[in-house]
């Protein structure tokens, strides 16, 4: 009774309007996020985090290119079945179905990041705040991440840049302003998307050049030099050799890194030092083991779902320190680039100095400037070998050599299949054949070098044209 009376008073003195306006404590409205520097920064941090999604660097962007290139394989013991094997089995055999959820998710998850980045890119310049360095950096970071996501989308859904002479073949829909939820866009051409990627990276360069706004490990963040490093990759994929060389040189000037030595090479990975890495993706917030539990070394009672192939292991010479990055246990090979530790996900590499050197070396080789090639390759290989054997012959010999070394150096980092496609080569996978899988080889050009646009995306956006052959 007394309670009732008190309550009556309370309710009536409150007034209905206040009573009904309830605060949201774990969410912020879109307006709040995009009108305040601190809140916009939350969204920027969330965007980095997004890159670690399982459909991106958390899993797919490693698994898919490395499986297709034959560096990884599902367990040869076909009696082992897990969700992860199920999810990749068809794709591994170039038989991706239109409705495989784990594969289909990749499309949407990329766009989640692109949307989020685009919102920041649009809104941040309008925010009035004294901390203009922070705001400029946020926009620059958003542009770099958007470029990176579009680059990955191009690799997954569009054929290589030189598939048609004018790069007019289909890529994915492109937008630079946030898209309305009901808006539909057709697929842009590969050339158009490459242009946009380059524009984003170019625009990001001056934005990132302000004071360093990020605390903690600088390698976690896109910072001055990162756009150039990515540009060296993008130009290489386009075959614009001189630009790739120049961008690589600028990146090396702007970024600090320490190349490795044979003594430190293995520890660099097993101890998570990443001394020569340029941009690594923090995954420490993940309370899970991720890929490290799948094909990483050091787990005594592991689920043997995916393993490193014998072909990859055999490609390393006996005196090559990189051979020590593999652990052979009961004839199964695991990677020490992904050392297993309970509850820990090691950072993922987005780009590192060795790749930039390899990018430059390859571009020089294409231009026939072999002295530079030799210097760069020596730099790369001295990290893992005391006395690397280098070819002495023609540019084409060098190109073959660089291709092999690139595969060995960047193995299991999610570049291998993209490199094969870019060089317009065939896929040959012996481990796949011997384990009884189908469609282990593909000859370039192949419709199966790209994944199908997911059925669920086409249903809601009929403007999307399916890739031929699916």
């Amino acid at each position: 009774m007394k309670q009732t009376l008190i309550l009556c008073l309370v309710v009536f003195s409150w007034g209905c309007q206040d009573f009904l306006s309830v605060e949201i404590d774990d969410q912020l409205s879109n307006e709040d996020i995009l009108s305040d520097a601190n809140n916009a920064n939350l969204a920027a941090v969330g965007l980095y985090n997004h890159l670690g999604d399982n459909s991106l660097y958390g899993e797919f962007l490693i698994m898919y290119p490395e499986l297709m290139a034959g560096h990884l394989q599902p367990s040869p013991d076909r009696s082992i079945t897990t969700n992860l094997i199920d999810a990749y089995a068809n794709t591994y055999q170039f038989m991706t179905q239109l409705d495989e959820s784990r594969i289909s998710d990749v499309y949407e998850v990329n766009y989640e990041g692109i949307m989020s980045a685009s919102r920041l890119i649009e809104a941040v310049p309008e925010i009035e705040d004294s901390r203009s360095n922070l705001l400029r950096a946020i926009e620059g970071e958003a542009r770099v991440i958007r470029a990176l996501l579009y680059f990955q989308l191009l690799q997954i859904y569009g054929q290589d840049y030189n598939y048609t002479p004018s790069a007019s073949h289909l890529a994915v829909p492109y937008y630079d302003q946030p898209l309305g939820v009901f808006e539909r866009l057709p697929r842009a051409s590969v050339g158009e998307v490459y242009n946009q990627i380059i524009e984003d990276l170019q625009t990001a360069r001056p934005l990132l050049n302000g004071a360093n706004v990020r605390a903690g490990n600088p390698k976690y963040w896109a910072r001055p030099g990162i756009p150039e490093a990515l540009l060296s990759r993008v130009y290489l994929f386009q075959g614009r050799w001189q630009l790739a060389i120049d961008a690589g040189a600028e990146a090396r000037n702007l970024l600090s890194f320490d190349l490795l030595t044979p003594d430190s090479y293995v520890e660099n990975w097993t101890e998570s030092r990443y001394a020569e890495a340029l941009w690594v993706l923090d995954q420490s917030y993940r309370q899970a083991t991720g890929l490290n539990a799948v094909f990483g070394s050091g787990d005594s009672a592991r689920a043997q779902t995916f393993i490193v192939t014998q072909e990859l292991f055999d490609s390393y010479a006996q005196d090559d320190e990189r051979r020590q990055l593999y652990e052979v246990s009961e004839s199964l090979i695991f990677s020490r680039k992904y050392p297993f530790e309970p509850n820990t996900t090691q950072p993922k590499l987005i780009i590192r100095a060795s790749e930039v050197l390899l990018n430059q070396a390859e571009a020089y080789a294409q231009l026939g400037q072999l002295t530079e090639v030799e210097n760069l390759m020596r730099e790369v290989l001295l990290q893992s070998q005391n006395d690397p054997a280098l070819p002495s012959g023609s540019a084409s010999e060098w190109l073959t050599f660089i291709a092999e070394e690139r595969a060995k150096e960047l193995a299991l980092e999610g570049m291998a299949f993209w490199d094969i496609r870019r060089r317009q080569e065939d896929v040959v996978r012996n481990a796949c054949e011997s384990s009884g899988f189908e469609n282990c080889s593909q000859t370039y050009p192949s419709d199966r070098y790209v994944l199908p646009i997911p059925q669920e995306a086409i249903i809601v956006n009929p403007l999307l044209e399916q890739n031929p052959g699916y």
């Binding site: 009774m1 309670q3 009732t4 309550l7 009556c8 309710v11 209905c16 009573f19 009904l20 306006s21 309830v22 949201i24 774990d26 969410q27 409205s29 879109n30 709040d32 809140n39 969204a43 941090v45 969330g46 965007l47 980095y48 985090n49 076909r78 009696s79 079945t81 179905q97 949407e108 766009y111 989640e112 692109i114 949307m115 989020s116 919102r119 937008y175 898209l179 309305g180 939820v181 009901f182 808006e183 539909r184 866009l185 990020r214 903690g216 923090d282 420490s284 917030y285 309370q287 899970a288 592991r302 779902t305 309970p342 509850n343 009884g436 997911p454 669920e456 995306a457 809601v460 956006n461």
Partner: protein, 995 residues
């Protein structure tokens, strides 16, 4: 919070108990009460007209009552009998004969805000079941199960066999859109439960998808499992607009009003009952034994070009079921005290329920206490209070999947320890899990209410009431590092804490009167304020030093993480109801409610709901010619109700903050929902037409109803182009209609010699059509879909056309009738076709009970027609999953050589699933003997009341079930595949007595 509430209520009750004792004694009156056949009646209420003193008759029909000298008369009342008032006239012995009454028309029905009403006054559609009719003789884990087959138009579907989990209840069909795709959001389709005026927590409503609080990380329990069935007086199902519109925004799916037992004036009664039961599984799916399993596995490997020796040997034959199951046992004991004086009535009941589940370590234990007090301060002022307290512990270790593990694998290693190698390297060994893991719920539920009633004038009664409901759940889960469940994380502990606190305050005025001779009116008007706070806390820790350390702070700091959230919502409402009748022949009512909710943003925060209804009791007309028809009424209503239960903040376009969005040690935010400021209530327009008939003094009663409910602005999710960065957005779009017929027929028969017979038969037909949907959606995985012009319960899938006898490959029938072996074509979305219906067309039940002298017997059947179900594809994977999952014995019929005519394709590890295929589709039509019971009163002549009143009964629950579609000999069919977790048959024995 819990302790505080309990303490408060306890003090209040104590105060009232002490204050209420007031005794006076002057004279005694005694006598017998018999029925028309001379049979003595037990338990007749005898109450002084003026003094209110009361008692009840003993088992021999005798009574003795103490009354003040000034008392002038006695009232005798008994369920099923006409009430009789007898003047005392200075007598000290009064023997009375009670006549069988036409009863139910005069029995009161609990209505929403107007309080109890007589049946003939009702304009809306109400179905009320009393405790007696609901038969609490069977083991009841949660109240909603009691409604199965008892009330026309109420469909109850238990989702699994695990006790204590939410049960799906649908009144008059699916009232909101389904979630066709897993990412969909739609409004909760559960009815609104109101216990003694306090709305219960709806576990279905909160949408925490994509947060750590999603169902992936925790298990939801059924809040109705927290109520003790023995405490229930009535359950009233409100079905049409006239009955439910006054509940406004949340009444779209119907309302279920639950009232608990209250004390009655008269001598103190102590009731005791206990039920003990044993359960065993029925209709288990038959799986392969080790030898057949290895044979099929070898064949699969051979067909796939793999080494058959991988299949292993058949030396081990492990019966996984026997290892993870046990014999079920249930026990339910109740003790209650009730009684009261003129000033105060009370009832206190204590209950204990224990269920030893058939799945090991899934036991459930519940303690309940229910206290209700009514205090009359004067003729005009009355205070009613109640407190329901429940505590439930439940284990929830899931070893269910283990039942399908390959039989040729041993759970133990050679040295006797748990086998954690090979097969168990990728999945936990269930025996190790049972031994080493923890997963336990601790639940508290407190519902308190207090109502002050002031009867100023007949036309003005004022009342103010407050109710609270606190639902608290803690789930503690520990995955041990010693087995596969926690090995990856080196031990994992997760504690989930949910506290849902709701308070509701209501003030209302009501009254009645008449204008001139025959114009009667009554009204109720009031306001209601509700506030709900849902607080969630989750703490996780991993990487434990060793297995015995199982508390959060025993993990290193960097291995501990946690999250907390508070969800709040508020609702402010005004309501009114005006009823009128002319000469008890013509009735009319109009009701209205306005709701304003914090859940929606922008202009649509407020919504109005209203209903009108009218009825005509044509048997009251003087010209009505046929006197065999003693009661006849036609009634109809139309109105709108709403549904706002989509969970908090569903309308805001938001970024979510979460520790899972961290990066580089900094907190981050990610887009969570696409904005839709136009999101508002979904409205349900209900039309109802009913006919109530009573024949031969209402011994036979028939109710026929037709309804048509149209949902407009249905809350639905539509998919949006993926390039937008979202899957979908929630909108008010689409509309849908449910319509159908309901019939219920009741008989209350009686012959001389103490023979009584009661029968209830109910039948309901429900049809549904989607009238409009912005974008049609069909799920590729679940076969559910929302397609314009179709029933929302339609299943969409692929027609299976058997196996090609030449090569053993599966064949499919396309919608155009042609047969193909191209799976991609058959499974393309455009070739999905209606293959069945996921909800029944016709449901019903038949209950009959007879009583003859000391014996009682009852039978309860329920049935369902028109429902199909898709069995799990895992037991029929045609080789795909045989490496880790035992298969149904039906797989023995696989294609082996050209010419074989069979449904099971050639086994191969690469065979695809036949998800959503008619191959997995079975008809769920059934008739079930849900319950039979037999009761006996062994010592009816004993001088000791406790023995005299003792009743024993024996009941068998789920005695038999017959499916329309039969299983083939030695093969599984619908009976076996119907429930993933097989049903249980329970034999129980009950003792009941009272003094």
């Amino acid at each position: 919070m819990i302790m505080r509430s309990i303490f408060l209520w306890y003090c209040l009750s104590l105060f009232l108990l002490i204050g209420g004792q007031k005794v006076s004694a002057q004279k005694f009156i005694q006598g017998f009460v018999v029925d028309e056949s001379g049979e003595r009646l037990i338990g007749v209420n005898v109450i002084g007209v003026k003094s209110g003193n009361g008692t009840i008759t003993e088992v021999d029909g005798s009574y003795r009552i103490k009354l003040p000298e000034s008392e002038i008369g006695l009232v005798f009342s008994y369920i099923g009998m006409q009430r009789r008032v007898v003047d005392i006239d200075d007598r000290d012995t009064i023997n009375v004969t009670l006549n069988e009454s036409t009863t139910e028309m005069k029995e009161v029905v609990v209505t929403a805000y107007s309080g109890p009403k007589e049946h003939r006054e009702l304009v809306g559609s109400y179905s009320q079941a009393t405790n007696e009719e609901l038969e609490t003789l069977r083991p009841i884990e949660s109240l909603d199960q009691m409604l199965e087959g008892k009330v026309a138009g109420v469909q109850v579907e238990s989702t699994g066999g695990e006790p204590g989990l939410p049960v799906k209840v649908r009144i008059r069909g699916q009232g909101s859109f389904i979630n066709a795709l897993s990412s969909d959001v739609s409004a909760s389709a559960q009815p609104l439960y109101v216990v003694d005026g306090v709305p219960l927590y709806d576990v279905e409503e909160l949408n925490a998808t994509n947060t750590v609080f999603s169902d992936v990380a925790r298990q939801r329990l059924n809040p109705l499992a927290m109520l003790n069935a023995e405490d229930i007086e009535t359950i009233t199902v409100l079905k049409d607009a006239a009955a439910t519109a006054i509940y406004g925004a949340n009444a779209s799916n119907g309302v279920i009003l639950i009232t608990t037992k209250k004390g009655r004036q008269g001598k103190q009664q102590i009731q005791f009952s206990t039920t003990q039961g044993v359960s065993s599984f029925i209709n288990d799916v038959q799986l392969l034994d080790s030898r057949s399993y290895v044979n099929l596995y070898r064949e699969t490997l051979f067909n796939s070009g793999l080494d058959p020796s991988l299949a292993g040997s058949a030396d081990v034959n492990t019966d996984w079921r026997a290892l993870v199951r046990q014999n079920g046992w249930n026990s339910n004991t109740n003790l209650s005290f009730s009684g009261g004086s003129e000033q105060m009535t009370y009832r206190l009941s204590l209950g204990h329920f224990y269920l030893r589940s058939i799945g090991k370590r899934n036991d459930m234990q519940r303690y309940t206490a229910n206290l209700s007090l009514t205090q009359k301060f004067s003729e005009r002022i009355q205070l009613e209070s109640g407190l329901i307290f429940a505590r439930m512990n439940k284990e929830a270790i899931n070893t269910f999947t283990a039942q399908g593990f390959p039989p040729n694998i041993s759970p133990f290693a050679a040295d006797g320890s748990f086998n954690n190698e090979g097969f168990f390297a990728t999945r936990p060994n269930p025996l190790a899990v049972l031994d080493q893991n923890e997963n336990e719920h601790r639940n508290y539920d407190v519902t308190g209410r207090s109502r002050l009633l002031i009867r100023l004038f007949p036309f003005l009664h004022l009342s103010s009431s407050i109710g609270i409901n606190l639902y608290s759940n803690r789930q503690r889960q520990f995955d041990s590092a010693l087995n596969g469940s926690g090995r990856n994380r080196n031990g994992f502990l997760r504690i989930n804490d949910v506290q849902n606190f709701r308070w509701i305050w209501r003030a209302k005025a009501q009254g009645s009167g008449k204008i001139a001779e025959n114009h009667h009116w009554n009204y109720v008007a009031g306001t209601e304020v509700q506030n709900r706070t849902n607080e969630r806390l989750q703490t996780r820790a991993s990487n434990f030093l060793f297995d015995g350390l199982r508390e959060i702070d025993f993990a290193a700091n960097e291995d501990i993480s946690g999250a907390s959230r508070t969800f709040r919502d508020a609702l402010v409402s005004y309501f009114g109801d005006l009823s009128y009748n002319y000469d008890y022949r013509y009735y009319g009512s109009i009701s209205w409610r306005q709701d304003a909710s914090s859940l929606f943003g922008g202009d649509v925060q407020r919504a109005q709901f209203a209903a009108v209804g009218a009825s005509w009791v044509f048997t009251e007309e003087s010209f009505f010619p046929w006197d065999k028809l003693t009661y006849g009424k036609i009634r109809s209503s139309f109105g709108s109700t709403g549904n706002a239960r989509i969970g908090s903040y569903a309308a805001s376009g938001t970024y979510g903050l979460s520790t899972a969005n961290q990066y580089g040690g900094v907190l981050g935010a990610q887009p969570r929902t696409a904005p839709n400021p136009g999101l508002g209530w979904e409205s349900n327009y209900k039309f109802n037409l009913g006919l109530d008939l009573g024949f031969l003094d209402d011994k036979y009663r028939l109710t026929l109803e037709y309804y048509r409910n149209t949902v407009r602005d249905a809350i639905t999710t539509i998919e949006v182009p993926r390039e937008s960065g979202f899957d979908n957005v929630i909108i008010n779009g689409g509309s849908m209609r449910n319509w159908g017929y309901e019939a219920s027929f009741n008989v209350r028969g009686q012959s001389g010699r103490g023979f009584r017979w009661r029968m209830n038969f109910n039948l309901a037909l429900n049809r549904n059509r989607v009238l409009e949907i912005p974008i049609e959606r069909v799920s590729q995985a679940s076969a559910q879909g929302i397609v314009e012009g179709q029933d929302i319960n339609t299943l969409y899938g692929v027609k299976y056309a058997g196996v090609d006898p030449y090569n053993g490959q599966p064949l499919y029938e396309l919608p155009n009738g042609s047969i193909t072996d191209n799976r991609n074509e058959a499974y393309a979305l455009e070739n999905r076709q209606p293959i069945g219906r996921s909800a029944p067309l016709v449901t019903g039940g038949w209950t009959t009970s007879v009583q003859w002298k000391k014996w009682t017997a009852s039978v309860f059947l329920n049935f369902s027609q028109g429902q199909d179900f898709l069995m799990s594809e895992f037991y029929s994977s045609d080789g795909r999953q045989i490496s880790f999952l035992n298969q149904s014995v039906n797989q023995l019929d696989r294609w082996q050589q050209p010419g074989d005519i069979t449904y099971v394709p050639r086994l191969n590890v690469n065979n695809p699933f036949h998800r959503t295929s008619t191959r997995l589709l079975f008809s769920g039509d059934f008739i079930e003997i849900n319950n039979i019971s037999l009761g006996y009163q062994p010592f009816s002549k004993s001088p000791f009341p406790a023995l005299r009143n003792l009743r024993c009964s024996l009941a068998i629950n789920r005695l038999g079930i017959w499916y329309a579609q039969k299983s083939k000999a030695d093969r599984n069919g619908p009976a076996e595949f119907r429930y993933n977790f097989p049903r249980q048959r329970t034999y129980s024995f009950t003792l009941k007595t009272q003094i």
